[in-house]
Symmetry: C2
Subunit: 218 residues, 2 copies
């Protein structure tokens, strides 16, 4: 079987969780990184469900959309998604929390896509302040509590990392990377378990090896 093809831009973004999960789960995949021009062409041709990336070409001519659905699929292929319904649901619950965690920030970045295109720079700056001072710390405290209750250091208490860990770690790294005006680079400092989670994932041999072969774009 030809390997599945993950289609996304040459940035971590919404695809990095999938790339890391595939690497740790040893799922053979082609990491197709497209330009904005190719994206526009593919979108125009109707090749992308919902006109979005990431998309996964699963090899039968069908494209799978939505990063959380792709992530769960790849985790399943890699033996990293439990078949027990309640264990799977615990992971799904944390993956869904990632949407709540980031949706305010997402809309402040891609305002027009959500009906907020009339947002001024001043309005956006106030959103970022609210996120930084109140909303994001609240969500971080949820993660911190999950990790306090975990016996393994992974968010859902699984033996191996799960979709819950893969979806959060790259996004949290990006959140405090300086890419988001108004979000403090030391936002995670009050959340030692969250910082330990990031370090734990980044130290996995498969993740170290992945980044040796695929250095992030500068």
């Amino acid at each position: 079987m030809a390997p599945i093809k993950l289609i996304y831009f040459d940035i971590p973004g919404k695809a990095e969780a999938i790339r890391l999960c595939a690497s740790v789960g040893k799922v053979d995949f082609e990491d197709v990184r497209i330009s904005r021009e190719t994206f526009a062409e593919m979108k125009e041709q109707g090749a992308l469900p919902y006109g979005q990336v990431p998309a996964l070409d699963v090899g039968d001519g069908r494209m799978l959309a939505q990063s959380s659905a792709i992530l769960r699929y790849v985790a399943t292929l890699g033996g990293l998604h439990p078949s027990d319904p309640i264990e799977a649901a615990r992971i799904d619950s944390i993956v869904a929390e990632e949407e709540d965690f980031f949706s305010g920030l997402t809309i402040s970045r891609y305002a027009g896509r959500f009906g907020y295109g009339h947002m001024t720079d001043e309005f956006r700056a106030e959103v970022r302040k609210n996120l930084n001072d109140e909303i994001l710390p609240k969500h971080l405290s949820f993660l911190e509590m999950l990790l306090t209750n975990s016996t393994t250091g992974w968010l859902a208490g699984t033996e191996k990392p799960s979709a819950a860990d893969f979806v959060f770690v790259p996004r949290l790294k990006w959140l405090v990377s300086g890419a988001n005006d108004g979000i403090d680079s030391d936002l995670l400092d009050g959340f030692p378990n969250v910082k330990a989670l990031i370090a734990k994932m980044m130290a996995l041999p498969e993740v170290v090896s992945w980044y040796e072969k695929n250095p992030p774009p500068q």
Copy 2:
């Protein structure tokens, strides 16, 4: 085994998808409808993950949060979620699209929760206009296309209704119910397959029977 308990307010909201799925899948569950006061108490006591409802008490003292995770779990219990990973992923993809579909509207309703508490009535009215005139029709056209390509009339092309159908039908009914200022009650008129989907679900014997026993609050 004691039945699982679904905890939510006495409104359709984010729980109706789960109630309908449990009914169609013949999953025994207790439909616990709480007051705002009880919600505040439970939240204060830390009984609700992420301080949210819907929550599912799965009977071992553990609460499961996030409506999409609960829905997938209940669909699995009811034999309505396929075990084939790619079929499951197709459904997951549509369930995730529901988040994109509604996130602009959700933030315009619960602005403070997402860092948008400084939104004025005028700003909100413009969001609703953008949603009504542009964003929601775009998303509706995605659903219309999925249904055009479906041979069964269900969104993911499944034989029985799936989580994809359960998550969208009650939300679409609510969208055009008059509960959302600025959203036209005839917004679905240009999307006949979407209207047929709603009618198809509402005509299911289990759904008819559910609403006979549980008339929606007036």
